[in-house]
Amino acid sequence: MIFALAVKSLRNRKFTAGLTVLSIALAVMLLLGVERIRSESRESFASTISGTDLVVGARSSPVHLLLYAVFHIGNATNNLRWDSYRAIAARPEVGWTIPLSLGDSHRGYRVLGTTPDYLEHLRFGRDRRLVLAQGKPFADERDAVLGADVAEALGYKLGDSIVIAHGAGDVSFSLHADHPFQVIGVLSRTGTPVDRTVHVTLEGMDAVHADHDGDEHDPLAEAKRAKVEAPRHDADTAGGRHENEEHAGRDSQRAITAFLIGLKSRGAALSMQRLVNEYSGEPLTAILPGATLLEVWEIVGAAEKTLFAVSALVVVVGLAGMLVALLTSLSERRREMAVLRSVGARPMHVFALILGEAAFLTLLGIALGVAALYLGLLAGRQWLESRLGLFIVVGWPSAYEFGLMILVGTAGVLIGLIPAYRIYRYSLADGMTIRI
């Protein structure tokens, strides 16, 4: 009875009630949206390297190594020697390895030199493997397999010829034009950095740099050679690193940026990590990607918390708006309450009526906010995936999200206690005679 009265009363004040619901809905959508993007971005990052037990690179900070080797963010300060890679890959604990050679680019997209093991063993998401949408895997040194975004953004199709450039920037003045690659495959979308990468074989990468070495008339290369006198592996710029790569030459002298390890048994990860870190051939760093991701989250945690705090404040503002709307309606509703009292409503009924209105507004706001969030995610999922690499799963709200909704609902009801108590006091004092 009281709840039905509350709903009808709100319907009578649809404009202010609608605005209140809208503000709560937007606040809830923002709060849950921030939480969803936060958790999904973590999930997305974590899913980029599912199944990889260790990442190994030249000695550097673990976070730096993870970012440049896996997420293609930033550049390596040093390379590691091919024979070091071979020695570690030959360990009995190792199930598979994927060498990674970075440093070149194609029209702003990273070029990755690797082996067919990349397509075989790399996993993303929940143990999903890379799938070719078109064409076939790379095998020859002139073969290139494109990530989905590269193919789509640049409009490439199978058989097209591409030229890679020196360095990782959007614009390069040093093209490896004498060693073009041919697109022979395009990968299906993964929602990971793979989509934004051009994949070639290590041999192809070697050939590019061998050709480049022979280019005696490259003024840029000559200037660099004259400038860099230190041993190549000490160079600390992309250009210097690249010189390392380009002069690494054939198999025996090859240098790679990093490599991924899949162990036969996960239990061996820590001992293998220690073994790599203590490798005597050259200073190397091995990281457990999951543990290092936690370090990354610690770094970005402050920004996340700030964003969450802002969205929580928006919820507070939304609920405060409801409080104002209810409080301002009280004076004009005292006669309505007197009528209700005259037909037998108790002060507690009047209290419950206002509290019921607050609860209804809050619940409706939450429901609309969640609905709007899901519609937004469904509509924007493709964009988030392609532009930000966020692979959003539109499923049931998580327990934490349900917890947030319950928290907002409880806060709405608690805030409703304020006008409810005031009308209760009015009701006791007024009875059936409004004494203002």
């Binding site: 319907r11 009528v339 009292r341 108790r346 009875g431 059936m432 005679t433």
Partner: protein
């Protein structure tokens, strides 16, 4: 109806000592003050209203009429004395019991702004049945429904046209709103109907028609009617009339300003 204080010029029956079984209202030495301390705003030696009786209670603003109505309705309780409604000692009942008692036995009509604006005409009339099982049962008696009884009452009050029933209450004329309020007060056959200046916003013709309808319905259910107004010209229409200022011995009057 009996009063112990001097009556108005209207004819009043002789005083009786003690109430009779037919009394709906019986006040005995009732005093009331808002703060629980002196001065009293209500001080009535004796007042009785019999079943089916129509009583006109006249008095100026601030004389404590509305406070008396709140006492009769059990919203407040006497500071001193005994107030019995339908032979129940209202002062002895707890707050919840008084609310239930009011819902079950008393119908109320206000001066104006009588209706809940977000309810339909029929929903407004049915409202008391939402708070009282007794009135719900009574209204739906004989195999009918509460809504059917509401429509029946509205038809008796010349408000039964379908377009009127469907219209939002805020679009009704003041006269129509008062008739809907009367139907709400009468649904479920309460034994006591209290009307607090219900005709003050009606013109003479509408006032007369409204009173005819109210009297007819009260008579049909044998409900006692306590009708408060400051318009002395209405007094002859009632069984009896009381000048409230003369039965309320509370003084000084200025302290009773809060009472109405």
């Amino acid at each position: 109806m009996d009063v112990s204080a001097p009556a108005t010029s209207q004819t009043l029956p002789p005083q009786r000592s003690g109430g009779s079984p037919g009394d709906v209202v019986e006040l005995s030495g009732v005093r009331f003050s808002w703060s629980g301390a002196l001065p009293f705003v209500i001080d009535i030696g004796s007042l009785r209203v019999a079943r089916g009786e129509r009583v006109f209670l006249r008095g100026p603003s601030g004389s404590g009429k509305s406070t008396l109505l709140s006492l009769l309705a059990g919203v407040i309780t006497p500071s001193e004395g005994t107030l019995r409604v339908l032979e129940r000692d209202i002062g002895a009942l707890g707050s919840a019991a008084r609310d239930r008692f009011r819902a079950d036995h008393i119908g109320f009509i206000f001066q104006m702004f009588n209706l809940i604006p977000y309810l339909s005409v029929v929903e407004n009339v049915c409202l008391p049945c939402g708070f009282s099982l007794r009135r719900r049962t009574h209204a739906a008696g004989g195999g009918g429904t509460v809504q059917a009884e509401a429509v029946r009452l509205l038809e008796h009050l010349d408000m039964g046209e379908a377009d009127v029933l469907r219209r939002p209450v805020t679009e009704l004329s003041v006269g129509q709103q008062q008739r809907v309020a009367a139907a709400r007060a009468l649904i479920g056959a309460p034994e006591l109907v209290i009307a607090d200046e219900p005709t003050s916003s009606l013109d003479a013709d509408r006032r007369s028609a409204f009173l005819d309808l109210l009297f007819r319905e009260c008579a049909r259910e044998r409900a006692a009617l306590v009708f408060v107004s400051h318009d002395a010209s209405l007094a002859p229409l009632f069984d009896r009339a009381i000048a409230f200022a003369e039965i309320n011995r509370a003084l000084p009057r200025s302290s009773a300003a809060n009472a109405s």
